[in-house]
Point group: C2
């Protein structure tokens, strides 16, 4: 299964049986609004705290993904999940509700593809019949924990990103109908010395490029193999830097369409999101909602999702540390061309 | 590889090539002091903050484990690690230093066996030639983050546990000499409604019992198969509760030796540790230091380590939530009896 140094090829073709996405109002109003399963009109989800609201997003997404897979939670062997909250409480509490054996993971916003890669690996090796992968974020919990409570109304520079409110989940199975997870590349931690938590995109871009280079090297393929390569949430600043770095390294990205989930989820001209979206939920809902729909429709046949994460904490920032970043890539294919 | 509902049997016999343990002064003064590779006499490790000290523990343990395996970090395909710090910064920063592809995980104090189970699964399936698993904790970082800074000198009830200062790491490989990882059982989240963060043992005991029951059921074996079954860090209160619950469920634990890492690491009569040790590092250093030595010496041939974790955050506690808990079990065998 190991390919090259840091990649996995999934020979047994683990299938994405189903996905589910649940988002908040800002995401529902964005250009991809119609592609999400549930759009909440109220950021509180009628819960008493933002944290309880975030957990509910995750609970709804996992429940719906299991329903969409036409199975029951008793059939799910493992839930692989994580989020940005301290001690990943949104997922741990959602896992309590699910009552499914649970593997907590953390890769900041790369958690979406870390959890999907691990779920695929476990299913591929016969370690599970069904594995569920999921992640989530909520604008108000993340802003409160990493920066200031939103009620405080602090200003932000244009390089800042807007944490999306949403949860995404996918049921991966050994058998059944659906897009296939064919490959994954697990990233190294890359730190270029950037210390500004209001410019995560710039910090994360080199990690995305490092993982993309590793992916092409380990599988000896070119970007053109994929119809679409999409980064997690580099947004405006980071995606431009990643494009420049890839050009500098002579990676022929012009062979494919190269996009970013943080740029796709909002209309940057009309929505108050600075450089674009971010958060664990960002690449999860764009991939599991919008892109899976495109794959099912036949608009794309092969895609590579490179979710990026900034592994800082408020404390590491306060202690003068720079921002270590990581990116994990997962390839999903319709199987139609094969 | 799947056995029963939530367990893995590792047919390809992943080997623990090496381990390394690094601890602080209190652990060095305890009954297992001689079994650790490095004992620091100073809790600061000459670093400016407790968090930087904790990270250094992890960096030293991973470096030494790689040296002890007579390999180099360039040969390690994946590092699987996590810790109790918000956004698992000790491990993410240690992974930056290592520069090895990194899978961040979180299961509170069960992280030790979550990371080892995943490393074994990845190696077993041919997904890595070498995988490194590790975790750590530091008394002063954890007390500060979850309760009060130690300098504040707040009093504690006798049910409280003392977070150990230490890091443990293991190199798991597809080939080579060493104890074999034969089985793993991934736990469900169990929550019996306990809300007191000064009584983690009581909260975690039912999770340990749930995972033990699942392990015996999935593999159709009895406790007597193992020379030793050891829980992670239930300490005095929790271990007694777990023993009672197992008796109630008619699990014949009298067939084996049943112990707890949180009780083994300190002398409860002489050291100021209340009910015993806890923290991600606790089961890691006891297993990788003390128990692996006993296995290499031939004193034990088959052991099952059931690491327990309390998945709360200070915020979930402040919002009135109870403490969801989890336990992951990993079986390690010398191979001598086989």
């Amino acid at each position: 299964m190991l390919r090259g140094y840091q990649s996995w090829a999934f020979e047994n073709k683990p299938v994405i049986l189903s996905t589910a996405t649940v988002v908040g109002p800002e995401e529902g109003n964005g250009p991809l609004g119609d592609d999400f399963d549930i759009v909440h009109g109220d950021m509180t989800l009628q819960e008493k705290t933002w944290e309880k609201a975030e957990r509910k997003l995750m609970e709804e997404a996992t429940k719906l993904a299991i329903e969409n897979a036409k199975t029951t939670k008793e059939k799910i062997n493992f839930y692989v999940g994580g989020d940005l909250m301290n001690q990943i409480i949104s997922n741990s509490f959602a896992a309590r509700t699910l009552s499914v054996p649970y593997l907590g993971v953390f890769g900041a916003c790369s958690t979406s593809m870390e959890s999907l890669a691990l779920a695929a690996m476990i299913v591929n090796t016969g370690g599970a019949n069904y594995a569920l992968a999921g992640t989530c974020s909520h604008n108000c919990t993340v802003e409160k924990q990493f920066r200031y409570p939103t009620e405080y109304g602090s200003q932000k520079p244009p390089t800042a990103q807007y944490t999306i409110t949403g949860a995404g989940a996918a049921v991966v199975a050994a058998k059944g109908e659906g897009p296939i997870i064919t490959r994954a590349t697990i990233g190294r931690v890359v730190d270029m010395g950037i210390k500004d938590p209001f410019n995560m995109g710039a910090a994360m871009a080199p990690a995305a490029v490092d993982t993309l280079q590793a992916h092409f090297r380990d599988f000896r393929i070119e970007p053109g193999y994929y119809d679409l390569i999409v980064t997690g949430d580099l947004a405006k600043v980071g995606h431009a830097i990643a494009s420049e770095l890839l050009e500098k390294h002579k990676i022929p990205m012009q062979q494919t369409t190269f996009m970013d989930c943080g740029l796709m989820i909002y209309d940057l001209d009309k929505q108050p999101v600075q450089a674009g979206g971010s958060g664990c939920g960002c690449s999860a809902v764009v991939t599991y909602g919008h892109l899976m729909k495109k794959m099912r429709n036949g608009e794309i046949n092969r895609m590579l999702v490179v979710a990026t994460g900034a592994l800082l904490s408020p404390l590491s920032y306060q202690q003068g540390e720079s921002i270590p970043c990581i990116a994990h890539a997962v390839a999903i294919e319709s199987g139609r061309r094969e």
